[in-house]
């Protein structure tokens, strides 16, 4: 490791940077709201400026802290029952802070352009909650006290909740907001139980003193997995995600999907650090849930035709991949295979960073398309590449990255997880089984993701526009383009420099994989990210450039004509003749019909000269339709049956009194 343990002084500086960022976020948010009463311009300047500067400072602080391996805790008294302002900055927190500030800052920049059309409303309302969201997320990652953590956690929920229902006149936002609020509240209820039980041993809610009651480590982990998993969007607790993400404004969707749900992952990982050792079956549980989330997530994504909903389901998928990595890591720790542990955790965590980048990029791209065309329905889009070349190129990069295709960053993290799995397979019995599970799941996910993004990118950006709105699309402004460009560049950069990134991540991995010596030793993480790999990737890019040059040479000076797409002799090709998204995905969705249970409305062509035919497949979430909706409905009915208690007759009301009194007196005097 190049830098050794930091002087406390450096740590203090970095910490100050972080604290400053938090303060600035809070102040600028409120300031923006107040300023918005007089001038929209100043509200935006304050809000976006504050967010930008704060995120810059925070990013610098986080990266510095990670490189210097800062590990310190600062505590200030807080007059709350069991509460204390105990903030900590260790490699794990620093690592999670990096994507957080990075993406939030870019999203803030993007939002400036995104909200320009929304005239006549106080933009401060947006910036208050946006900056609040960023600040609370950072606080969640830095909190070292249970009460403080929960407070930050719920503040994060509220801020994002208000951003989800930002378009208040839209009646659907009420539904999305309700599902989101209830889901996260139930999750928090579990977390309260978790923290109380963790703190019950020691009298305080300080993370440092947390310890699992004897023999309850497994139970507590499950509690945490459910609580944090609700936020992270693990199947089947993901139901709020496909509702909330599309409802939110796109920069918010980017932050929520890219960073906020990762706080759930952070919670799970932090819980692992706190608990130390968990039973082996926990690892298998995580693996199973991860596989389920990954496969089901991508399957449902494949069946969607709302672009943002599709991306939301891909978040479920990627969280599943992260879970697979973490599960492998736990398996490694449990089986005493440090390298496997290191690979699993490294892969999972690197995927956290990568997913933040490419999913952020994709949501911003989707937002740009919706912004330019006014629709998110894939079936009504098309040909955007010609009209929005920047957005198109960025989206293409994001698509390749999320499919885990080289040379982009998605490949790097999936490669690590794969390698972990293969290491496991080389090993003995149960670990090998885990490896096989992961390999199969990842391979399936990879293929399906490729299919899904071939559809998403191909139908939205290629071919001819399928509606007048799509035909009228124009490229978005610079403030929206720049963030996408940066993120696309990062996709490639991390893809090519993954080895370096992993070196920086080493202390984080060491925290989780335990026994740093084995991890830091040669033959450890980044050695399994071999330089040769990047050599081959370089070869790929070099070859590509060479071929491009060659092609140019060969075609130079020859007649290059343009014509219509070859259409089997049909004279007038029309946009409506193109393959639709539904049609493109149909073979696969049909194969998975048993799982997806789509609602199909089809009108088969009739007669010799069919006048019309239609096929429309809608795929609402099965977990919601089959599990939660019936559950809630049944509960509501049962509870409704209690209403006869309040049937209006005062005689009965007095009777209740007398009955209770008689019972209690009897109990008091006889029992």
């Amino acid at each position: 490791m190049f830098v050794h343990y930091a002087m406390p002084l450096e740590g203090i500086y970095l910490f100050g940077l972080l604290a400053g960022a938090l303060a600035l976020l809070a102040v600028s948010g409120v300031g923006s709201l107040l300023a918005g009463r007089w001038s929209e311009r100043w509200a935006v300047v304050l809000g976006a400026g504050g967010a930008g500067v704060a995120c810059g400072a925070g990013l610098a602080g986080a990266i510095g802290a990670l490189l210097c391996r800062v590990d310190l805790t600062v505590a200030r008294p807080w007059r709350m029952p069991y509460g204390e302002f105990r903030l900590g900055l260790d490699p794990l927190s620093a690592f999670f802070l990096i994507p957080l500030f990075l993406l939030s800052g870019l999203a803030a920049l993007y939002a400036i352009g995104y909200f320009r059309p929304w005239k006549g409303r106080n933009p401060g309302r947006f910036w208050l909650f946006f900056n609040g969201l960023v600040a609370s997320m950072a606080l969640v990652v830095a909190a070292r006290n249970g009460v403080l953590f929960l407070a930050a956690w719920e503040t994060m929920t509220i801020a994002s909740f208000f951003l989800v229902i930002f378009d208040e006149a839209d009646s659907r936002s009420a539904h999305a907001g309700w599902i989101y609020l209830v889901a996260t509240h139930l999750g928090t209820a579990l977390l309260i139980g978790l923290f109380v039980l963790l703190g019950s041993g020691a009298g305080s809610q300080d993370f440092g003193t947390y310890a699992a009651p004897a023999g309850m480590a497994g139970g507590l982990f499950v509690l945490g997995l459910a609580g944090f998993g609700t936020k992270a969007g693990l199947y089947p607790l993901h139901v709020w995600l496909p509702e909330a993400h599309p409802a939110a404004p796109s920069p918010v969707s980017a932050v929520m999907s890219g960073v906020m749900i990762k706080t759930g992952i952070y919670g799970i990982v932090r819980l692992l650090v706190i608990l130390g050792t968990v039973p082996g079956w926990c690892a298998w549980l995580v693996l199973g849930i991860g596989a389920a989330s990954g496969i089901l997530g991508v399957l449902f994504a494949l069946a969607q035709h709302d672009l943002k909903r599709l991306l939301a389901y891909h978040s479920v998928e990627n969280i599943g991949i992260i879970a697979l990595g973490i599960g492998l890591g736990m398996l490694g720790v449990h089986a005493g295979m440090p390298v496997l542990a290191a690979l699993g955790f490294a892969g999972g965590l690197l995927h956290v960073l990568n997913h933040a980048i490419f999913k952020g990029l994709l949501f911003l791209g989707a937002g740009a398309v919706a912004h330019a065309t006014g629709t998110r329905d894939i079936e009504r889009l098309g040909g955007a590449m010609k009209r929005m070349p920047w957005t198109g190129a960025a989206f293409l990069v994001g698509s390749a990255a999320i499919c885990g295709l080289p040379p982009f960053n998605g490949f790097a993290s999936e490669f690590l997880i794969y390698m972990g799995a293969f290491k496991a397979i080389l090993g003995s019995g149960s670990a090998a089984l885990g490896g096989v599970t992961v390999v199969t799941a990842l391979a399936l996910i990879g293929g399906l993701a490729a299919a899904c993004f071939a559809k998403a990118f191909g139908i939205v950006f290629l071919g001819e526009p399928r509606s007048a709105a799509a035909a009228a699309a124009r490229e978005v402004g610079g403030s929206m383009r720049a963030p996408m460009a940066v993120l696309a560049a990062l996709c490639l950069a991390i893809g090519l420099l993954a080895g370096t990134v992993l070196r920086a991540m080493d202390p984080v991995v060491a925290m989780l994989a335990g026994n740093p010596s084995t991890v830091a030793a040669p033959g450890a993480v980044w050695v399994l990210m071999p330089a040769t790999l990047f050599g081959v990737l370089a070869l790929l890019l070099g070859g590509l450039l060479l071929l491009a040059a060659l092609r140019r040479r060969l075609l130079a000076g020859r007649a290059n004509r343009e014509t219509v797409t070859w259409d089997c002799g049909y004279a007038a090709p029309a946009a409506s003749m193109q393959y639709t998204a539904t049609g493109f995905a149909q073979p696969l969705t049909q194969a998975a019909e048993g799982i997806l249970r789509p609602r199909v409305e089809s009108q088969l062509p009739q007669g010799v000269y069919p006048a019309s035919g239609a096929y429309h497949a809608d795929t609402p979430d099965v977990a919601r339709r089959m599990l939660f909706d019936p559950l809630f409905r049944a509960a509501a009915e049962r509870l409704g049956q209690l209403r006869w208690l309040q049937q209006g007759r005062v005689h009965w009301y007095v009777f209740y009194l007398v009955a209770v009194l008689a019972l209690l007196l009897g109990w008091a005097l006889w029992a």
């Binding site: 503040t155 005062v650 005097l669």
Partner: protein, 493 residues
């Protein structure tokens, strides 16, 4: 000092009944409320010393509840003046049934409000259970006319039920008080006492069966007034039919008074070594109330009734906290403060919605955020506050209670409570969001309509206070809560 606190509003009530001019009377109302709050503050800063066996005087618990009542009363007074100004003079149509009615004379209304404050002060001040009983019954009598301000069948029915059920309940409490004397009397039948401090001092010398019977009677009696299920039946009717400022006071201040009575009895049982007995009863009633209230919160069609049931639920939470004892008692007292602030604010916002939409039906109330931006925002904020979402104070108090509940052997209580809370959240969130969001229904003026400061100011102040309590509990309040908790047999966390 103590007497001043009680007599000021009492005399003001008499004066108000005599004043002709509305303007003057309203000014008096606000002025007295302000003066009362000032006196209360003085009483907080330098607690008046009083003889150990004095009947009247503010111990820590008394000061706490006095503070709540006084603060709430000022906020409500300001709001009430606004509402009274908005009330129409002549005949008017009832919101939902459309039946015509007139208002009760405003002089009577104001007088009753002030009398109500006086009686609540007396409750907080009384350290003698007999006086306490007189005071609590007096609050009932002072509030009945308030509920019947709108002279129309529904509110009349509500008043009747309120008066009958509560009077019966409190009568039982009187019997309980008598039995307490017997329990404390010497073998020759003399020397029975009702001074709380005295009773606590006698501790185990009290006769068990009589004490048990007394506690049961007091619990059922004052529990009726406090709104513990299944004696809560009067509560939704009264709260929904009373004018909103009155609902705010009933829910925010009156229920607490009854709770104080129960706490006194509980502390006596604790001193007598029957803490387990009374504690279990309290916890049982608490869970029952939470469960039943949660059931009625789901798909509730009338939003004022919704708030009323939510009060029942929170009273259950208080009762549970008191029953669990220890730090949970601190939590319960803190929660009493938070709940009063939030619930009063919510009722005032509900009043604004009612005035704007002319209906209490949830189904016909849509798009509040567009129609009344400020009230709509406060409505959502209130939702978050009442559901115990940090950073609102309710979270701190609920967390304190739950933490105590997770003690070995009674985790099931914590789980049950969490479950009831979750149901309540689901139920309330759906209703509140449906009301706040969505487009404004036709036939209403579009968004951007000006709201009067007096309409949303008080609610905003109270919610802000609750938010503040979630971020930082002032040391003065913290010490007071600690003292009160210790006084009543609990402890500070």
């Amino acid at each position: 000092m103590t007497l001043a606190l009680i007599l000021l509003p009492a005399l003001a009530a008499a004066v108000a009944a005599a004043i002709r001019s509305d303007r003057l009377r309203r000014a008096l109302l606000v002025a007295v409320a302000g003066a009362h709050l000032a006196l209360t503050a003085a009483c907080w800063i330098r607690p008046p010393v009083c003889a150990p066996d004095a009947w009247l005087g503010f111990d820590a618990a008394g000061r706490l509840f006095l503070g709540i009542a006084s603060l709430l009363f000022l906020a409500v007074a300001v709001y009430a003046v606004h509402r009274l100004g908005a009330e129409s003079r002549g005949r008017q149509a009832e919101e939902d049934t459309g039946s015509l009615f007139v208002n009760a004379p405003e002089a009577v209304h104001t007088a009753c409000l002030l009398a109500f404050l006086a009686t609540m002060t007396l409750v907080a001040a009384s350290r003698h259970l007999g006086v306490l009983w007189v005071a609590v019954e007096a609050t009932t009598l002072a509030t009945a006319p308030l509920i019947y301000f709108h002279r129309q069948p529904r509110s009349l029915e509500a008043t009747w039920k309120y008066l009958l059920v509560c009077s019966v309940g409190i009568a039982l409490a009187l019997l309980g008080t008598f039995l307490l004397v017997v329990a404390s009397a010497a073998p020759d039948g003399t020397g029975g006492t009702l001074v709380v401090r005295e009773l606590v001092a006698r501790g185990t010398a009290l006769r068990t069966p009589w004490l048990k019977a007394a506690f049961v009677l007091l619990l059922v009696g004052y529990g009726t007034k406090m709104g513990l299920a299944p004696m809560h039946t009067w509560l939704p009717d009264a709260h929904s039919e009373a004018p909103s400022p009155v609902s705010a006071l009933l829910s925010g201040a009156l229920l607490n008074c009854a709770f104080l009575g129960i706490l006194r009895a509980h502390s006596i049982c604790g001193a007598a070594g029957l803490g387990g007995f009374s504690g279990n009863l309290l916890a049982g009633f608490g869970l029952l109330s939470m469960g039943i209230a949660a059931a009625f919160l789901v798909n509730q069609a009338d939003y004022k009734r919704l708030l009323a049931y939510s009060s029942v639920e929170h009273m259950g939470l208080l009762s549970l906290g008191a029953g669990l004892g220890g730090a949970a008692l601190y939590g319960a007292l803190l929660h009493a403060v938070n709940h009063s602030l939030v619930k009063a604010a919510l009722f005032m916002v509900a009043g604004n919605l009612l005035a704007a939409y002319r209906t209490k039906q949830v189904a016909r109330t849509r798009g509040a955020l567009c129609l009344l931006p400020v009230s709509g925002a406060l409505w959502l904020a209130g939702l978050l506050a009442i559901t115990g979402t940090p950073p609102f104070g309710t979270f701190a108090s609920e967390f304190t209670m739950l933490r105590a509940a997770f003690a070995p052997g009674r985790e099931w209580m914590a789980v049950a409570a969490l479950l009831a809370l979750a149901v309540a959240v689901a139920g309330m969130a759906r209703t509140f969001l449906g009301m706040a969001l969505g487009p404004v229904p036709d036939g209403f003026e579009p968004a951007g309509r000006r709201e009067r400061l007096a309409a949303w100011g008080p609610a905003l102040v109270l919610l802000t206070a609750s938010l503040w309590l979630g971020l930082w509990i002032p040391s003065g309040l913290n010490d007071l809560l600690g003292h009160a908790a210790r006084l009543l047999g609990g402890c500070a966390p």
